[in-house]
Amino acid sequence: MSNTRRLMGIFGLTAVIYGALAGVTVPAQGIKITDPTSVVLIVNRDSNDIGFMDLKTNTMIGKVFLGNNVNPHMAMMSPDGRYVVTGGTRANKAYIIDVPTLTLAKVVPVDIAPEHLAFTPDGRYYYQGNPDGDTLSVIDMASMTEIKRIAGFAEPLNVTFTPDGTKAYIGNYGSHWVGVVDVTRHELLKKIQVAAPPGVAKLDPDRYLSEIKGINNASITNDGRYLYAADSDLGVVGVIDTREDKVVKVIRVGKDPWRAYMSHDGRYAITINNGDETISVIDVSSNRVVATLDAGPDMTGVNFAAGKAFVISSSTSFVYVYDMDSLKPAGRIKIGTNLQLETATTDTADEKLYLASSTDHSIYVIDGRTEDVTRVANVGLFPWGTHIMDSKDNYCH
């Protein structure tokens, strides 16, 4: 009898404690995402929303509508996974989304045509590039306001922070220099010229005056020591030493290189050269081109998975595959017919690619090892890009 009472007493107390604890631990109503690493973001340009897809089930969890004619371009998750930010290119606004509840937390007016962006490593700020305004907006994530607008750029496209977060390097597509920004003061410190136009350019002024295709991005090595900045017009990659902020080597690659993509093991940088439909593989240790391989037209990006490089050829519906050990072509994957492929991200396990296909409103999941392709349809209108938290292949075009 005594034991029975003791047991019942323990049971009763346990129930009381559990009940009390339950009040604390049960997630509040409206929480839709508890693990930000479990989702892939999808930037839907024409349905004007950011979609969230579960990585395990390939099902849509939800979408956050931003407004008509916003036309988001690129999205990125904050380092702590709490927020997603995106630039509404045609609304001239930055959008901050609360990830757990999938609600729009703040809309911040910025400069003209915001596109690419990046967070500081500590997540305190994010820099929003406004290419048509030639400015960078500094968004303070604590107050969710634009605390400064840094001027003086020429079509700033991509932002790369050093690992310690003290400096940011800005690719200027409207010039041949990389901007160095002091992140402490949010000021443009200097302009690093990657290369000068050749002397023979004087004979062909129309080519150089009609349109400029400069530097898209400064891609950083794993140790943060060097940057690889491809200049499209000049057909070179400038290697920048981040300690001294100067170009230490200029490497000639194929025609019209779009940008450099760093392999996950840090050994190679690959440029996609749309001018001659090749890729150039640069050995980072020797800073020389070790392979120039045939590829396809209209390339938009490179992803790395399962020891291979996957190069997206937008207009052909193909993804070209290269073996990164032998540096040889390893076939190509036909994604579909008459598709327009955009960009992809790779999961953190380096196993799967999530490729946006805009004209059929789909995401194609590519297994890096088997090269099997799974289509996830109706993810939103005109998916333009994807993003996974902590992925090494988060980029845009």
Partner: protein, 511 residues
């Protein structure tokens, strides 16, 4: 005792119920509390906004200030809310208003911010903001009754169809123009031009005097290219060429042509169809089939260092392997299987006789295997082995050859060819090798240069050795000027060996 136990039992049961109640109630009350806090925060925020609006409204209703108070020279009447200067003119302001300069400044800032916002909005909305209508290819499922679904249902079959959709995409005028021009270009026939002028001189350096010694030659060539996309993965291409002028080959006999352009010359001052073919790609575009009037040397025995008389060496002995035996273009088919891996395969048939009366005459059949290698940690190298059969003499004569180009460094490529072909009296042999350079070792980034050596040995005893060096200067994107120096020595053509030094220029425009 019994009552006491009973009471304790009641107490325990009570505790259990309280526990269950806590499980059910506490989360709800926690959520409710959180929601209440959120609601209160919202109400506070709304209250603050209302307060600010009321303040602004009250300020807007204040009487207009004196015209003296202006901002940037603008009469204050036009900017009623910006009537509080903070500069040197403040001393002249009425004392009643001097107490609110900070407020005025704030108002001005708000006003400016509002103006900035409106300008930004205008910049966005002055572009095309109407919902855009576009036609998209969609996959649907149709059941046996013809009912269409956007998802698979039992008994349905997938169908590709087209459907209009309306989207909210704001595009600028320049984007729309660019899009329209791009669509126009895709649906039209693309025309390209490649024109070249090649003056060359001949200096005889060995052998009995010939009439060519000291003479100058010039060949002008113009190619018109037509390209049109005629179906999915199917392309039409035509190359119409016209040549004029005397080439050095008319006076300097040799085993191979001094000027590779001469191979295109059929009749002076006339247009000739050099190529006209249709290309289609099958099996996930891994198999390409070209059919029509072809130049099979564009598909077989290719070489990165020496393959094109319009941009690299001009000596025909370096441009092509003479063992291939293809003298003129003709009707044919070329199949290229390229799985985009290290190996590719090609087979082709082509007639190489303009006087042939049927397609059965003078048929050259070729097959080639290509392999991409990266030996000894060098750059990529392309290695090809080919075989050829020719029935032009009534018997099937064979030839085999290899061609390779291997990058020794990013700017240096080693190339070579070897070929042996069957002839009436035995076998003819041809060799060539050289180096080509680009990047790093040039004046301008797009310049290239090379040196090459070729040797031909016929079974009849005739022999040729040639050396050529060239520098191709990229003047503009569409204009190139190259300098060539060739040395030829021929045995067996004249009683004594003859040798020539042939300097030349090639001015080439492509657009």
């Amino acid at each position: 005792m019994s009552n006491l136990c009973h009471e304790r039992l009641k107490l325990l049961i009570c505790c259990v119920w309280v526990g269950f109640a806590a499980i059910l109630v506490l989360p709800v009350t926690g959520i409710a509390q959180e929601q209440a806090e959120d609601r209160q925060a919202l109400l506070d925020q709304i209250e603050m906004i209302e307060k600010r609006l009321n303040e602004l409204k009250a300020r807007a209703l204040e009487p207009d200030p004196a015209p003296a108070y202006t901002l940037a020279g603008m009469p204050a009447q036009q900017m009623p809310q910006m009537a509080r200067p903070t500069g040197g003119q403040q001393a002249q302001a009425p004392s009643a208003e001097a107490s609110v300069p900070e407020e005025a400044e704030q108002t001005v800032q708000e006003r400016l911010a509002e103006l900035e916002r409106r300008v930004s909005e205008l910049e966005s909305t002055t572009v095309l903001s109407e919902p855009e209508t576009r036609v998209r290819q969609v996959q649907v499922w149709v059941d046996e009754n013809g009912i269409e679904y956007d998802h698979e249902v039992p008994g349905s079959r997938p169908v590709i169809t087209y459907q209009r959709e309306r989207v909210f995409r704001r595009q600028t005028i320049s984007e729309k123009i660019e899009e329209a021009l791009s669509e126009e270009a895709e649906s039209s026939v693309q025309v390209g031009v490649d024109a070249a002028i090649v003056p060359q001189g001949a200096v005889q350096v060995e052998g009995d005097d010939t009439e060519a010694n000291g003479r100058v030659y010039q060949l002008a060539s113009a190619d018109l290219f037509f390209t049109a996309r005629i179906a999915q993965y199917t392309l039409f291409f035509a190359d119409v060429v016209g040549l004029t002028g005397p080439p050095p080959d008319s006076e300097i006999p040799g085993l191979t042509l001094i000027n590779g352009y001469t191979a295109r010359l059929v009749r002076q001052n006339e247009l000739n169809v050099r190529e006209a073919w249709v290309r289609t790609e099958l099996f996930s575009q891994q198999l390409a089939i070209n059919a029509g009037r072809l130049d099979l040397t564009n598909y077989f025995d290719r070489n990165a260092g020496a393959n094109d008389e319009t941009s690299q060496f001009i000596s025909d002995g370096l441009v092509n392997n003479p063992a291939l035996g293809l003298s003129t273009n003709g009707a044919g088919v070329a199949l290229v299987l390229d799985p985009r891996r290290s190996v590719n395969f090609k087979i082709g048939f082509q007639q190489s006789n303009t006087d042939a009366t049927s397609l059965s005459d003078s048929i050259f059949s070729l097959a080639e295997v290509g392999y991409l290698a990266t030996p000894f940690s060098l750059g990529e190298g392309n290695y090809r082995v080919w075989g050829r059969m020719d029935n032009s003499t009534g018997n099937n004569r064979t030839a085999v050859g290899v061609s390779f180009d291997q990058k020794l460094a990013p700017m240096v490529t080693l190339f070579g060819r070897f070929g042996t072909s069957q002839s009436d009296t035995g076998r003819d042999h041809f060799y060539s090798s050289g180096l080509s350079f680009q990047s790093g070792l040039v004046v301008n980034p797009s310049d290239t240069w090379g040196i090459g050596y070729a040797q031909g040995q016929l079974a009849t005893g005739e022999q040729e050795k040639l050396v050529e060096g060239y520098y191709n200067l990229g003047l503009t994107e569409r204009l190139r000027l190259s300098f060539h120096l060739q040395y030829f020595k021929e045995w067996g053509i004249a009683p004594r060996p003859v040798a020539y030094l042939v300097p030349g220029l090639r001015l080439q425009a492509s657009f």
